[in-house]
Structure formats: structure tokens, C-alpha cells
Symmetry: C2
Subunit: 334 residues, 2 copies
């Protein structure tokens, strides 16, 4: 994942058919998934924000995520402490997307050769920050030194909340699509400082709102098709409804603000499909300080994700970040 | 970790005292450990092979480990499949060392830019191999591309075996120190092909043998002081008792074979402290095809680890691999 603006060359991102190797990240991962059929212990497997594993009569939610200097942050700009905090927060965000409660994590750091102790200690401070903020205790780790950029991997376990987990698979035609906050422009700093939506997910789950849910890491235009595919449905996004974060105005790059909201990555808000909200549910969400911004609707056109903009309906182009296709300019590191 | 021969410059590896920054891997990690005091959920925390976290009335054993091209394997020599299998096996080895049963894992791969799909698929095949061999199912993963060598991180969860977990902390003066197999020369290939001692650990635990246990990843001379420190005891190694793997003879480098057994890393045998074995226990171990090689004894000299060799007793020098001090020649990749 990485925050960035729209990609003018983002058309034609479909996975190659026939005998050719797959051409994008989802295609590569899809092609190897056959090697890992879910066994009897797996309640939720590949293709969701996190896995759910049956464990001695309980369910454990398990997730790993990696951030890299030059891809997901710029160490020289943001410092080691912010980088490590981000590494932990992106993993916890995936637990939140499953409506799980973070419990513990282990961290791995590949340190560039010649790193000094002060930088190492700042990494530890960042992990400490993230752990305290998300109640996801660091219980172990691994350190290596290599001729490599800084690589931070966090693996976390969580417990299903009292109302169970939510996956990407429950969206049904006619449902609304909503997000928990304004989108776009996270590259200016929010990609480092965001708070994983653990609390918001619990509030939503307690009210029975989300039928399907995920976190927005690669951008709505990349992530929504994943949710739709996993649910076997289509989706339509309403450009004029997209909540645009004030940061987008500061980008001042001539790109339409709604397109930043659609394509920029690393907002780490929740995207959810849900039945239309009752007045009572709206009131309960407001009382709990959880805001839903409706961005579109679920359709019956399996796999078809469209964009409604200026009176036209067009296929949604994926403008988000793809690790296997893109050489990103990279974030500024805020 | 990395397999290698003895380090002629291995003296004076003690962590720096006073106001200086710590000088080795254990020192750096010890210096940041204060940031992560164990919370109420932590049954076993930092400083052991894996963490044990109380989880909704059950204990989850959690561990992560990372391997890197050029440090822990050479991709061009061993291939992606063997590298990925190793990544999974080194993590499972730590679960084994706790007498835990592997249950599931998540994998993270940092892929060098320009990697082809065949290599990616071979990585998946290697993870599949490791998962099948160790009954540790791959339930999720994360893929990134960077200007970096191949970095593979595996985080696994395990369940305490029916006889509970074993930590590094239970060694007591007068106990024997034993290993589960011959040591040294893993650089010739065993560092890639070893089988984590999951079964052996269960047999030993069922017989009540291990009072303290760990896996040998960085070499006996580096790992034993860690076990001794964690138990608050001393230890003495008997050079003549060290079981030398036949691979050592193939190294033919003029170094005493027992020194390879002492210093080479990545044997991934279990090291355990235990009360002297009864005849009945010996018979039960033999019947289960588990062999213990006695390598020394636990002493009361807290922190003092010595080597008995040629009639002399000298302080044990740490000759194993230290990520923060060494620039290894690196393994040949078998």
C-alpha cells in the first residue's frame, strides 16, 4: 500500500486471462491461492482483511502487514518513531475491519546496515506508541540487519468482538455503501498519523450495521472491487457523494477533488455495505460519535463496479496503488 | 541468524556498560525491552523463543521470524522454494522450542523489483511445503515490492501441547544440558532443509523431561548463555561431549570439529536443561526415536558460562552470529 494521487495510466488493469502470468497484485495472489485451500481450522481465509482461525474452541483473528522505507514512508522525512507506529497501526486497522479487538502483536525489523542505536530506540518508541494507542501489546520481535531499506512487519492477533467478525463477503444488492470518514490526501501526513477504526467498528457491529466491511488501504477504487468480488455483487460509486478530506485542497494539483477521494490510498477508514439505516440506528451512531458517509450502493451486476459522475455511469477505473505494477513516486512522509 | 563458522574476532562481546549504547544484538534488544513491560495478558513475554498470550481463556503461543536473501540464504543458489520453506520452518522451530503445536501462520514477502511470476509461485510452493510438513497452515499474507533483497517474514500461532509450554527460565544447578541432534556444518545445506523438532519436543514434554528449552538458531555458544541468563544460572559445556555432525568433516577448514559444533548456527536442534534421566525415561525416549546428546551441565554461577576443553575450564566465547555486529560471509545456500 502507499498513498498517492490518481494514476493516468491506470486503465486496463484487469488480470490477464489465458496462459499468461497474472499482471497485477490481485492476479498474482489469486493465482497462488490454490496452494492454500482452507483447512478445517480456517473460518475465514485468504481474500479478507484478516484470517480467522479456530483455536482450541475459540476464534483467533490473525493478520500481518509490512511497511518499507521508500514505499510506505520516507524514513529521512518522517523519522523512525512515526514509521514504526504506522507499521503497527496498519495491521491493527485490518483487525478493526473484521470487527475484531486487538490483543497482541509481534514485530519484525530489517534494519539498514549501519543503523545507530538512537534510531533503533526510536523504532521501539513508535511500536510502543502504536501498541498503547490500539491496546495491542508488543509481546515479541525479531531483528535483522541487511543491505536493505528499513522493513517493518507487524503480525497481530485479535479476538472477535462480542458481535462476531465481519468479512468482505456479506454485501447484497440494494445495500448502501458507506465510509467512516472523509477520503483523500493522506499523503500529506494522515497516512502516518491515522487512528485505526477499532472503536467505530465495534459501535457499528453492536448495532448490526455492517453486512460486509474492509479498511481502505489502497484507495476506494482499488478496494471496493475487492469487496464486491468477495461478495459476488457489483457496486456503483456516486462521485458527487464522496466525502473529500480537507487535505485534498492542499494538494492543489488540478485533479478533481472527488478523484483524490476515490483513488488516493491509506485513508484507513472503514468501507462497509449495509442495509439502509433506520432513524434509531442513525441516532445511535450519532450518539456514539460515529459518522457514516454514503458513497454508493451495491448492485446485482457481479463483478461490475461503476462510477456515476456528471450524469454518466462509467466503469470504475482502479487508480490506487498496486505493488506489482507501480513504481510509486512515494509519499512525502508528512 | 545465519550459519557460519567460528569468528576469530568474537572476544569482548559483552554489552557495553555505563552510558554507552549497547554493542550487540542482545544488548540493543535488552535496552528497549523496558518499553514493553508485560501486561496482564502476557504469560511469557520477551526473552523466550515465543510469547504466550492469554486469549479468551486459552493460551496462544505467538512468534515471528524473518529471513533475508544474502543473510540467511542466497536466493540465486538455493532458489525461492527452499528459501520460503526455511522462512516458515525457522518460525515453527521456535514454537517447537516452547513445546507448542503449530496451528496457523501468516507470511509477508518483500519482493525485489522485477521479480517474475515463476519466482513468486516458487515462493508460494515453498510456503506450501513448510506448512504441510509442520501442520502450520498459511492463512494469510502480505506482498510488497521494493528495491531490496528478498525478505520473508512468517508469524505463527501455536497451541500449548497437552503438557504445557516450556520456557528458557527453568534450568536449575545440577541439571544436565542436552541437545536433540548433532551440531555444526549446517551451512552445507541443513540450514535450508532441517525439520523443526515439533514431535521431539512433544515426546520430551510428555515425559516431563525439559525444565528449560530453546532452539539452537545462532549457535550453542551464543544461545546457551541466553538460556542461562533467563534461568539465572550458569552453565558449563564439555567440548569433548559435543555431538559433531558429519557435515563438519566436509567443511575441511582446519577448525576443530567441536568448535563448529559449538559455534555454527542454524542447527535448529533443541537445547534443554533437565534432571538426570532415569532408565525408564531413557527407554521411553529410545522407543519414541528421540535421542538426547548431553553437552554439559547447569551450574550455580549466575551468568557464568564456561567451556571445559583439554582439561582446562575457560570462559565460553560467543562465536555465533550477531546481526548487529557481524557482516557475514553468508551461507552458500547448499
Amino acid at each position: 500500500m502507499s498513498p498517492r494521487g490518481p494514476d493516468p495510466d491506470a486503465s486496463g488493469r484487469e488480470a490477464a486471462g489465458g496462459g499468461e502470468p497474472p499482471r497485477d497484485e490481485d492476479g498474482w495472489i489469486g493465482a497462488i491461492a490454490r496452494r492454500f485451500p482452507p483447512g478445517p481450522r480456517v473460518r475465514v481465509g485468504l481474500g479478507h482483511d484478516a484470517a480467522v482461525v479456530a483455536f482450541d474452541g475459540r476464534d483467533v483473528v490473525l493478520k500481518t502487514d509490512t511497511v518499507i522505507d521508500g514505499v510506505d514512508f520516507r524514513l529521512a522525512a518522517c523519522g523512525a518513531r512515526a514509521a514504526a507506529r504506522k507499521a503497527l497501526a496498519v495491521t491493527v486497522s485490518d483487525l478493526a475491519a473484521m470487527a475484531a479487538l486487538p490483543r497482541a502483536c509481534v514485530v519484525s525489523a530489517v534494519l539498514p546496515r549501519g543503523i545507530d542505536f538512537a534510531t533503533f530506540d526510536a523504532l521501539a518508541a513508535g511500536f510502543e506508541d502504536g501498541a498503547r494507542e490500539t491496546d495491542c501489546e508488543v509481546v515479541g520481535g525479531d531483528t535483522s540487519v541487511a543491505d536493505a531499506p528499513l522493513v517493518l512487519t507487524v503480525a497481530a492477533i485479535g479476538e472477535p468482538g462480542p458481535h462476531g467478525v465481519v468479512t468482505r463477503a456479506g454485501a447484497r444488492p440494494g445495500m448502501d455503501l458507506s465510509v467512516t470518514g472523509p477520503l483523500g490526501g493522506s499523503i500529506l501526513g494522515r497516512h502516518l498519523t491515522f487512528a485505526p477504526r477499532v472503536r467505530e467498528a465495534q459501535v457499528l457491529a453492536a448495532l448490526g450495521v455492517p453486512a460486509a466491511m474492509m479498511d481502505l488501504s489502497d484507495g476506494l477504487s482499488t478496494d471496493l472491487p475487492r469487496l464486491a468480488a468477495r461478495s459476488g455483487v457489483g457496486a456503483e460509486v456516486d462521485a458527487e457523494a464522496l466525502p473529500v478530506h480537507p487535505d485534498v485542497a492542499r494538494l492543489a494539483d488540478g485533479v478533481a477533488p472527488w478523484r483524490h477521494a476515490l483513488d488516493d490510498g491509506e485513508d484507513f477508514e472503514l468501507l462497509l455495505a449495509h442495509a439502509p439505516l433506520s432513524a434509531a440506528t442513525r441516532a445511535a451512531l450519532a450518539a456514539a460519535d460515529v459518522t457514516l458517509h454514503r458513497v454508493g450502493r451495491v448492485t446485482a451486476a457481479a463483478g461490475g463496479v461503476t462510477l456515476r459522475e456528471g450524469g454518466r455511469t462509467v466503469p470504475l477505473r482502479r487508480g490506487g496503488f498496486d505493488h506489482l505494477r507501480s513504481h510509486p513516486a512515494g509519499p512525502t512522509g508528512g
